[in-house]
Symmetry: C2
Subunit: 248 residues, 2 copies
DNA sequence: CGCCTATGCGTTGAATTTACACAATGTAAA
DNA sequence: TTTACATTGTGTAAATTCAACGCATAGGCG
């Protein structure tokens, strides 16, 4: 081996061994709740976007980096929710690659730190990574069998998100800056998986004191045009810190 | 090196590198909420009980093993709540030991998975580990500066516990099998850090349907003797699964 | 220009939460 | 023994919150 080969960058020197991060990226559009998935090379499975932790970074940075690379977004709402570490979860790893370093890296046992992210659907430009050949949104209801235990991770993320909604507001990261009350309600109904009374929902949301009603109405819409609202970021962040009162 | 030395057990072959678990063990007695801490050798700091993850075990098993070794308890309520991974959190590691293997191991960068545990105070037999020379309960209010970022971990665990109380019952793992309503209330007040109305508390707890009133009263107590209660384990576990209604 | 659908705003009764009142019990002091 | 006192058991009324529903209005569409 030549010195240059010895000095060649390796996954084993760049990243912490045995540790990965996986991100459940939620987006929201008219069709409902969407999840960002990667189509893995050399196999039919889709997988959650994931990555590894550099020798000198924290897991949040690693997840932020993954998110930036897959979505192009700099600022995302990111929340770690659980570690998945059963030894057998990695047992199915049977990667083959011309790159021996990569192959050995991927066939390690991994413990993975699960994050969920809430991102503005329409601002995302999905980008596959080096071991996948596609990256795209999937409607939550259409997601099939995923790689390894990624179905369990996805399911767990949704549970964590539903729990979070009980005491923290959501929406700032999932909706465009201006949105209507029916759109906000649709978001809540979709994530919670239940319908809510239109009038009680509106009263409750307004009572939280996070919304600012704009003077303009949505245009080009059939029937009565709803007003636009936007979040008061100051109040919103305060509610994230201190929590909301009740919950659904 | 002889073959036997090569085959000698090493932390690096037994455990996953860079990964640790730390446990915030909560107990409860008449003096309030207690935390189990270890006095580290060769330094004045106290620390949370922690350990490492074997090559073929999950992080929950690792934490359970740590708990078993420090408390003697087999069955404990254990909940992972966050990963602590800032690179600089390990920067303060300056362990020295005659055991070079151990020294190199301890001076790695670690990401640690935080767990909190709820245990029956009076059944615990605290046992120090190999790198500590004492293991004992501390009243939460008396805890001073801990090793590394363990103060932050402890604080974060308490926050997670308070959050959990909003939608899940606690007490089964923190109280003796038979307990009085004032004892249960004291537990809630201590963890939440606020006083609660005695009569409303009782009504609410009973309405949850988790308690069974026993025909006996506490004896040897000044003033009116309160009845004993115990948890209905079936209902309790159901509530852990499905969550409670409201919250404080 | 009326029809239909969805929004804005409001009302009412039920359910829950909160704040107290009062009797009962057992210890300890008078 | 009696009395005082602290604490528990049970109940109730007011206040607040929650849930279900009514109705007028706006705006596109035939």
């Amino acid at each position: 081996m030549s010195p240059t080969e010895l000095a060649a960058p390796s996954f084993f020197t760049e990243y912490l061994p045995h540790v990965s991060v996986d991100c459940v990226v939620f987006g929201f559009d008219a069709k409902g709740l969407q999840v960002l998935l990667l189509k893995m090379k050399h196999c039919d499975d889709w997988a959650l976007p994931g990555g590894f932790v550099r020798q000198q970074e924290g897991v949040e940075s690693a997840a932020t980096r993954v998110l930036q690379e897959r979505t192009g977004l700099e600022q995302v709402f990111l929340q770690q929710f659980r570690v998945f570490s059963e030894p057998r979860r990695s047992a199915a790893n049977k990667w083959t690659s011309e790159n021996e370093d990569l192959q050995a890296w991927l066939n390690q046992r991994f413990i993975t730190i699960g994050f969920y992210a809430l991102v503005p659907f329409e601002k995302v430009a999905p980008q596959p990574d080096s071991i996948s050949d596609a990256c795209s949104w999937w409607n939550l209801a259409d997601v099939g069998k995923l790689m390894l235990d990624h179905n369990a991770i996805l399911h767990s993320a949704l549970e964590a998100l539903r729990l979070q909604m009980r005491y923290q507001p959501i929406g700032y990261n999932l909706l465009p800056e201006k949105f209507t009350m029916p759109e906000l309600q649709k978001l809540y109904e979709t994530v919670l998986g239940q319908t809510l009374d239109r009038r009680n929902f509106q009263r409750r949301m307004l009572d939280f004191g996070l919304l600012e009603k704009l003077p303009e109405r949505k245009t080009g819409v059939a029937h009565k045009a709803p007003f636009y609202y936007r979040f008061n970021k100051t109040q919103y962040d305060k509610a994230l810190e201190e929590g909301l009162a009740g919950g659904w």
